[in-house]
């Protein structure tokens, strides 16, 4: 098997490593595809945020680029009416469950959601869906960082960092469906977990749910 394959994304021919997932192949070549939950090192893609849709010639419906392995001769479009419709709906659904007080947010101007909105021309203040953001208690117990669940988009970047980088196992997902959250054992304050000092979470959080207290000042 050849080490590289040739694919076409939005009429641009690119040469990428065989076995690579389409999303990373595109991003490496400066072709933008929205994404929140993708983690390159993760063997099995999470495929949860549903933002990285593309259309592949020969497929009957749009596919998530994080789960598709590149194939020689693949012809891909990142913007088609069907892709745009799905991405817009997925994005607006996420926004309907996200605390949109950007001015109060430490991640303002450095936020993955703002980037997606800008690149795809989607308004942050969408009008289709009612807001369903719930109230959560702010966890400011650690010395250096804090956690505001009302901003969390459940991308799982922090849980991955916790398990694979910090190797602490202090946080994880809990509950099911709409009640799914990132939390500690029995929702205890972060300071009581074995990870009170590590700031990995704030480093990887794309939306300001985990943030440095200094940045919020």
């Amino acid at each position: 098997m050849s080490e590289y394959v040739n694919i076409t994304i939005d009429d641009r021919q690119i040469k990428v490593r065989a076995g690579e997932k389409l999303l990373w192949a595109a991003l490496d070549n400066d072709i933008y595809i929205p994404h929140l939950c993708a983690i390159r090192e993760k063997e099995r893609p999470n495929a949860g945020c549903r933002l990285c849709f593309v259309e592949i010639e020969g497929d009957t419906r749009p596919a998530t680029s994080c789960t598709r392995t590149v194939e020689d001769g693949m012809v891909v479009r990142t913007r088609t009416p069907r892709v745009d419709r799905l991405v817009k709906t997925a994005f607006e659904l996420i926004l309907s469950d996200h605390n949109l007080k950007c001015r109060e947010c430490p991640a303002n101007r450095n936020c993955a959601l703002q980037t997606i909105a800008k690149k795809r021309g989607i308004k942050l203040r969408q009008g289709r869906f009612k807001t369903i953001v719930r109230e959560f208690e702010l966890d400011e117990s650690p010395d250096d960082f804090a956690f505001d669940r009302s901003r969390c988009v459940l991308c799982g970047q922090c849980v991955w960092a916790d398990r694979e980088v910090a190797k602490t196992g202090a946080i994880g997902f809990a509950n099911r469906g709409l009640n799914r959250v990132v939390t500690t054992f029995r929702d205890r304050p972060l300071a009581e977990s074995n990870c009170a000092k590590c700031t990995f979470y704030a480093d990887v959080c794309p939306v300001g749910a985990f943030y440095y207290k200094k940045a919020a000042e």
Binding site: A47, G48, P62, A90, I132, L178, N179, R180
Partner: protein, 636 residues
């Protein structure tokens, strides 16, 4: 002379089993259906009554517990087999009837046919189930033993040629089993109808020595109980199917993933596994050959999403039952990362029959594209509720009106819901659709795992959609955006509509979102969650419009759009039943003696309407919730 030929070993086992079972049949037997549905109707009490009466009269008769014979509408049920008479099935049993049957039939010679449902063998005296319309359309393959054999006695199964397919297969190459299943075009009965043989073949092609066979018995569809019935009533059939699959693909270990909500099924299957092991039908050197295979039960812990293949595997690996993106398919990377075949209970149950009778026989039943039968749990507004098995290609009309006996009390058919939360509601105009995987899909529903709920004019289609969305929203695992948040917004919109809120744009937005959730979700739970909405919007849009535009629920179901009202001309002043039935003391007697409902206090529980004697029928529901003008005159 000892022989290592599996067929010889089997023959010996079979003959001994048959001799033992036949010896029991020399004396009268009472077979009582004690599957979960029978137990709910009081079958255990009936069993005790039989035992006591028989003992008191000093009779020599045996009481045996069997599974579900499928005629659940008449539970508790029993079959009495007395030498010299055809076996007769009795329904609606209670203490009095038990007393009479023991005295007159077991003690005397009067089968009391006036209480019988049907005989089970052709005879000159009394009709059999086959003589009723239901019997004409029904064709029992995998339900054949259900309700007739003692599920907890392996001899009962063996004496009916059980495990002979396995013995035959073991004398051939594994490839032969695969070829037969492929030739039969057995399609998976879990819902999607993917050919089982192709799945098995893919697992073989994946290579390696470690492979797994898993039976998906995580029957989570509300309104479906076929898998439970089969496991409770004939567990060995499923086990034999799994062993055959293991032999075909070269697996040494298999699991039955059974819902923890089905404790009786778990017990019966565990007993069956233990007995099969004792007989050398499971474990090492099965029937004297070099083939080793064993089975274990894994109890699911209550998450609908675990019916999805990858989620089921995740939960077996000690994780949250969350679906994964595919590929890789289970056939190449499943349990423990190894090639795995996952099939539904019913799919495995067909396998011994196919090996025993051959692929051609199987293909002679049903349609060309969907051979074999379909098993449904028939419930809702239908006379003969229960478990039915009909050849593929039977129309929905035949199933509901001929097999199910139509709607009770001359009620008007409105819709039939097929396939549970992932399925859809089909109207009268779709009743001639033949039941097979592809036709149902075209009509907007899915075969699903076989739940079939009949609805009449008193069922509101918007409320039904809301019910299913409530279910899927509650059961969404939360991993992907469309299912986690999309189902919530769809549900909120439906709740609004059932409360008369919304405007002309609401339905358009709902349909748009439903399509996106269908196209964008990660797994099949999410992708099919909008089906109840999409089908009701397609076939019953007028009902949605009545809610939004007129604030009216045509079926008088949505509680925010109805009120309860006692019609003065119909109310008998002398009767107080409604007053006593009201849990919130909302009904009072007016000065003129008529009863009236205090709307402030009424919780719309329907008690008074049910309580009002039928000769008056004075309590009515009104929608939109506006009282008739004469109300003004009432004095408290």
């Amino acid at each position: 002379m000892s022989s290592n030929n599996p067929l010889d070993l089997y023959r010996k086992m079979h003959d001994e089993a048959q001799a033992r079972i036949k010896s029991k049949e020399d004396k009268p037997q009472v077979l009582i259906g004690t599957a979960t549905c029978g137990v709910a109707a009081g079958a255990l009490q009936v069993r005790d009554d039989f035992v006591r009466e028989i003992e008191e009269k000093g009779l020599d008769a045996e009481v045996v517990e069997v599974g579900c014979i499928g005629h659940c509408y008449a539970e508790p049920l029993a079959i009495i087999a007395k030498p010299g008479f055809p076996p007769v099935c009795y329904g609606y049993l209670d203490e009095g009837l038990v007393h009479r049957l023991v005295e007159d039939f077991l003690g005397g010679d009067d089968p009391s046919y006036e209480y019988a449902l049907a005989a089970l063998e052709r005879n000159d005296v009394f009709p059999t189930f086959e003589d009723f319309p239901r019997g004409i359309y029904e064709e029992k393959l995998i339900l054949e033993n259900c309700g007739f054999i003692d599920a907890r006695d392996i001899d009962s199964y063996i004496s009916r040629e059980g495990y002979s397919a396995l013995a035959t297969a073991l004398t051939q190459e594994p490839q032969a089993v695969l070829e037969e299943v492929k030739a039969a075009n057995l399609r998976g009965r879990g819902g999607a109808g993917f050919p089982a043989g192709l799945k098995w073949e893919a697992a073989i092609k994946s290579g390696g020595n470690e492979k797994y066979v898993i039976c998906n018995a995580d029957e989570g569809d509300p309104g479906a109980f076929m898998d439970r019935s089969i496991l409770e009533s004939d567990p060995h059939l499923v086990i034999e199917g799994m062993i055959l699959c293991a032999y075909a693909i070269g697996s040494q270990m298999g699991y039955l993933y059974i819902r923890a909500e089905y404790p009786r099924a778990v017990r019966h299957v565990q007993d069956a596994i233990d007995q099969a092991r004792e007989r050398g039908l499971l474990g090492s050197s099965i029937l004297g050959t070099e083939f080793d295979f064993d089975l274990e039960i894994f109890q699911g812990s209550g998450a609908f999403v675990c019916g999805e293949a990858t989620a089921l595997i995740s939960s077996m690996e000690g994780r949250m039952g969350m679906p994964q993106s595919r590929p890789p398919r289970l056939a190449s990377r499943g349990f423990r990362g190894m090639p795995t075949v996952l099939n539904n209970v019913k799919t495995f149950a067909y396998v011994p029959l196919i090996i025993h009778h051959g692929a051609e026989w199987f293909k002679s039943i049903g349609t060309e594209e969907s051979p074999g039968t379909a098993v449904f749990s028939l419930v809702g507004k239908v006379a003969n509720t229960g478990l039915v098995e009909v050849p593929m290609g039977t129309s929905l009309r035949q199933l509901i009106y001929d097999v199910g006996g139509g709607l009770p009390g001359n009620r008007d058919f409105k819709a039939v819901q097929i396939g549970g939360p992932s399925g859809g509601c089909l109207p009268e105009s779709a009743l001639d659709v033949p039941i097979d995987f592809d036709s149902l899909h075209q009509a907007g529903a899915i075969m699903g795992s076989g739940g079939l709920v009949v609805m009449d004019q008193d069922d509101c289609m918007v409320a039904v959609s809301r019910y299913f969305l409530e279910f899927t929203q509650h059961e969404s695992c939360g991993k992907c955006t469309f299912c986690r948040i999309g189902t919530k917004h769809m549900l909120d919109t439906l709740v609004d509509i059932t409360q008369g809120k919304g405007d002309t744009e609401t339905l358009g937005l709902l349909e748009e979102l439903a399509e996106d959730v269908r196209d964008g979700s990660l797994c099949n739970l999410g992708r099919t969650a909008p089906n109840p909405i999409l089908t009701t919007l397609r076939y019953f849009k007028d009902e949605y419009k009545a809610h939004i535009e007129e604030g009216r629920c045509p079926a008088l179901v949505c509680r925010d759009l109805i009120l309860y009202y006692i019609e003065p001309p119909k109310c008998s002043k002398l009767c107080n039943v409604c007053v006593g039935s009201c849990p919130t003391e909302a009904i009072f007697t007016r000065e003129d003696g008529l009863k009236e409902i205090d709307q402030e206090k009424c919780v719309k529980c329907d008690n008074c309407r049910k309580a009002c004697p039928t000769e008056y029928n004075a309590v009515v529901k009104l929608s939109p919730p506006v009282l008739p003008p004469q109300k003004e005159k009432a004095v408290k």
